[in-house]
Symmetry: D2
Subunit: 347 residues, 4 copies
């Protein structure tokens, strides 16, 4: 079968012909229809410090996808819940099920997590084998949308964690694809005010399409002052920190209300100077580090918000490429010209 | 000044000329612009068992209102937050501030609660004196809507308590005014499915206007089966029990999903036979008794949902009467012809 | 191997020689050392309405146990977490992993739950095969205690659900083994006041041993008045309803404070008349139906409370029998002479 | 009356003869029996950057105290809850009651907070006037303990916020008086493991007296490694950061488990470099800034834990001085020789 493979350390990936994966007794084999291309894939392409420290080539890339079940292992079939022909997506974090985290509602933080497309073979391929426990039916969600539920789920996790959202004020700081999804999720989930910021005007245009009532560009606007204005001087109940920049952190803490919350998803590449007394303690702030998607309450809520039509991610999808054009997909992400990029694998 | 007074035990109320109320040091004096007429006022008119057991005439009736501040006591003025001319509404439950409940976030359940229009003089009058702590500025909410924030707040409390609403499935059982508000609040707060039931077709029409995707009439529909259908066989995450009927309770428990929640606001006049094993324990249900509005988080959320335009209660308002026509107002409520009824007091 | 089998409808069970169970790829085979005998087993012995409606003989009985792993299926071994020789206990509810409940933190309410000793072969046998996901190492907990972690877990679930226990006041109504465990758990978890009631004086003696500061006998005491006295007139923050009697329900609702919580575990055999207005709604109560143990946060907390020595269940264990004496074990439970009864299976 | 007054900018304070405070209509006048001396008082004595930026002399110092009610304003008396002769303590943060924070359960973060002994006259005096809403009866708690409920409340807030404490593992980093109280509160509230660290051996000795099972000295121990050892390699569920040092922050984040929580009370005097990716986001940590005491749920829980005897703060009290010896009290705090220091004002 075809697969995008990181064959060796260094820049790039290649389309290769590789053996079909084998499905174990508790696995299902899925024919991949579409996959999402993510910043993580760019890191692997570029072979940056994170990628070279984490991944051991060769391996098939890709962790966001949807497709059709073509085979079920013995145990997977016995469970009687999934069947051949089902259109499905999957959580790409494969966890141990036995550690403290897995046993107490924190499986998304399992120490033994193996991520598809990073720690084991991934989804930029004609077929992928997945543990049945990670697989969920699309139940009417289009395959293209199913292919990007992984990052939509990151946004759902960031927006809904620890906050009673209806009636709240939300500031999304950073409008990459996950930030843009966060804007739409906040809107769908009943936020009264949604403010978004980014330095890229194309992204701010998408943020408005996704429902932001106010968009700010830190190159032009006093972001914190404008968020305070938009919230009657209080600051935002929830700041979604999607930028990963130290300057973003500082803005996030300043823009949150007294007693507010900053859910942090953007992955910084360097450290931030924090004045905890002024920025966090005297403000009574809560900071929360967002990793992955809660398994599987995030997926359940996400499926409902999509199926009901409350949330539509499609405005964020700006590019589609066939699997052969992975280099082009990576290039548009690198250039910052893209919203979400989809790889079309099966016709 | 004019006031609707329950002068003595027995049926009825009368418009009387009474002395202006005096504002103590921590009080504000409010010129009432509009007031909501409620089922409680009907009970007092009819002098039923509850009313005759609770109220001691004479007293001015009415507990839902909005108006304008015309005078502030010394302490109220010193606080510097409210001023003459402010348009305001108020929480009608006056609580002690010192009991276990008041000290731990349950003031709405204060044992020493005195309700305006029931335990002390109320708002169907030209003026009312209120403790400054109970008074909130309308900040742009129309006075007519401010006048009915008390029952809207009941709905907000019922819909949002103990549930993560975004993406959830909600069944509102009973579509009197508070049930109708609950439909709109659930919709505004990001529910994915909102089902409503009542035996009164006019109310079901209003429920559709307020955003119910499915309306059911127990005289015609198998309510529980239809709720299960509308929720992929799961049952509703949240049932808002607004009917107060034993049959409603049974339906509510049956229509809730395994692990779901039934928030109960409708006040029953008689007892219900409950098979706790089957209806509650084996289902892992949570039942919650809704009293009043949480002080004051409910008011804060409500204000935001109204000001943003997410929630509009006006379709529920079917009748308006001048203060002199209190008997007509009571009559339309008694007949079941009304949604919400407003008394216009100041022009 | 030896096993206690319900061979056919009707009263009784018998010790039989049956084939060893086979362990599937995701299963472990466990040599049972000890097992707990439970009210459920009495129902099955008596073949009452519940048992005859639920169970289909023949089947091996018993759902509470601990023992030693003697064999692992291929997948179970591959996971690398459990090994031959490990001393373990197990959650006896085998769930589907895919339904709404399993996906959102409510697996203890999975609609497809199959309970060992009821819906499939159980633990009153020399060996039992269990899915590896249900099995947990004892990590130093004695096997005798491991054998009764199922009902201790019921108590942990009842005491800790929805309440911030430290400093709280707890009333345990009904002192069968799970009620007695609840007394000890409440004490270990930082309750400031623990009151227990039962009509059986031997059980009240055990309740005092488990840490109840006040024990009440409804045949002698005005239970509600005494709970109010013990809580400065407020009522209990948490009532654990372990009796399953309609009279217990009424006392539970009356003894809970305004805004309090009644966690209901006792399984009633008939219905209760509830005056929801007075007993629940005006009090702002929360009622919660307790089923099983939360998977697996309850097990984690329980393990810690036992290993640290904070909670010691052994005073509750009053009888031990060899597997051959199952009839005697059932008899002492039926007579009400027993606390917790253990079946010793392997020497 | 006598009072310790900061008469002017610069080092020191003096005992002065000042007029009795006047009690307004909603105030009570309290004869102070004992008061706690706190790090804040040391800052004011030293007139450091914080003190000189915040305080405007002259003013009476002291914010932790207990005493006897000697006079009630008209409204305070009318409420009928407090009476002359009542032994009381008080929350020293006087809040506005109307802002977003005051209205939604975050009064401890009210933007308009005025702290006694800092922003208005304080408690190192024969008498103090306090708003009745801030005053609570001791109900049997000794006056000496009542005098230090302010900092004990800080500890209760830090230990119980956002964590289900029973069965949890807690690491208290920094054993000044509030850290020492935190050790005792964690123990009383059902923690299974309590570890404490400090560089001062006298404080570690007190931590052991307060119930720490393991005490660590960062000058000698690899603190993070030892906390991991004590928690089966998981890290602590809750880290109470009481040191305010950047090195403490780094240890706190490293010692918390995946998905754990760091409640931060220690006030840093400088900023910390945080690698949010590694230290917070990939670990799924929650950080929370602790300010004051939750009004008044913290006080309620604290009162119960003290009255029941579960928590005894007295081992932490190392010094007592008469009001005249304020300089000595400040000196022992500055030297680090002291646990908690009490000023005895009335005999």
């Amino acid at each position: 079968m075809r697969a995008i493979v990181k064959t060796k350390p260094g820049v790039g990936m290649t389309l290769e012909d590789v053996p079909m994966p084998a499905a174990g007794p508790a696995d299902v084999l899925i024919k991949v229809h579409a996959a999402g291309v993510c910043g993580t894939d760019l890191h692997i392409w570029e072979w940056d410090r994170w990628a070279s420290g984490r991944m051991e080539p060769p391996g098939v890339i890709g962790h966001e996808f949807a497709g059709e079940i073509v085979e079920l292992g013995e145990d997977a079939r016995a469970a009687g819940i999934l069947q051949g022909g089902d259109l499905v997506t999957a959580e790409g974090h494969i966890v141990c099920g036995h550690c403290l985290q897995c046993r107490t509602g924190y499986s998304h933080l399992c120490k033994r997590t193996r991520i598809i497309g990073v720690d084991r073979d991934g989804a930029f391929a004609d077929y992928i084998a997945m543990p049945v426990s990670n697989v969920m039916k699309l139940h009417g969600i289009p395959v293209d949308v199913g292919a990007i539920m992984d990052p939509i789920g990151n946004a759902v996790h960031t927006v809904l964690e620890g906050v009673e959202l209806p009636g709240s004020t939300v500031f999304v700081l950073g409008c990459g694809p996950i930030g843009l999804f966060a804007v739409g999720i906040a809107q769908a989930a009943g936020a009264s005010v949604v403010v978004a910021s980014d330095t890229n005007e194309m992204r701010l245009e998408l943020a408005r399409k996704m429902g932001a009532q106010l968009t700010l560009n830190p190159n032009r606007d006093d972001v914190v002052a404008r968020v305070l204005d938009a919230t009657h001087g209080n600051g935002a109940d929830l700041v979604c920190e999607m930028s990963g920049h130290p300057a973003g952190h500082t803005q996030a803490f300043a823009a949150a209300r007294l007693g507010g919350r900053v859910n942090m998803l953007g992955t910084p590449s360097r450290s931030t100077e924090v004045d905890f007394a002024k920025e966090v303690i005297f403000k009574g702030l809560t900071l929360y580090g967002v990793t992955g998607r809660k398994m599987y309450s995030t997926w359940n809520t996400m499926g409902r918000l999509i199926r009901s039509g409350q949330f539509d991610p499609t405005p964020v999808v700006t590019h589609r490429f066939p699997i052969e054009s992975i280099a082009d997909a990576i290039a548009v992400i690198k250039d910052g010209r893209a919203g979400k990029v989809i790889l079309e694998i099966a016709s």
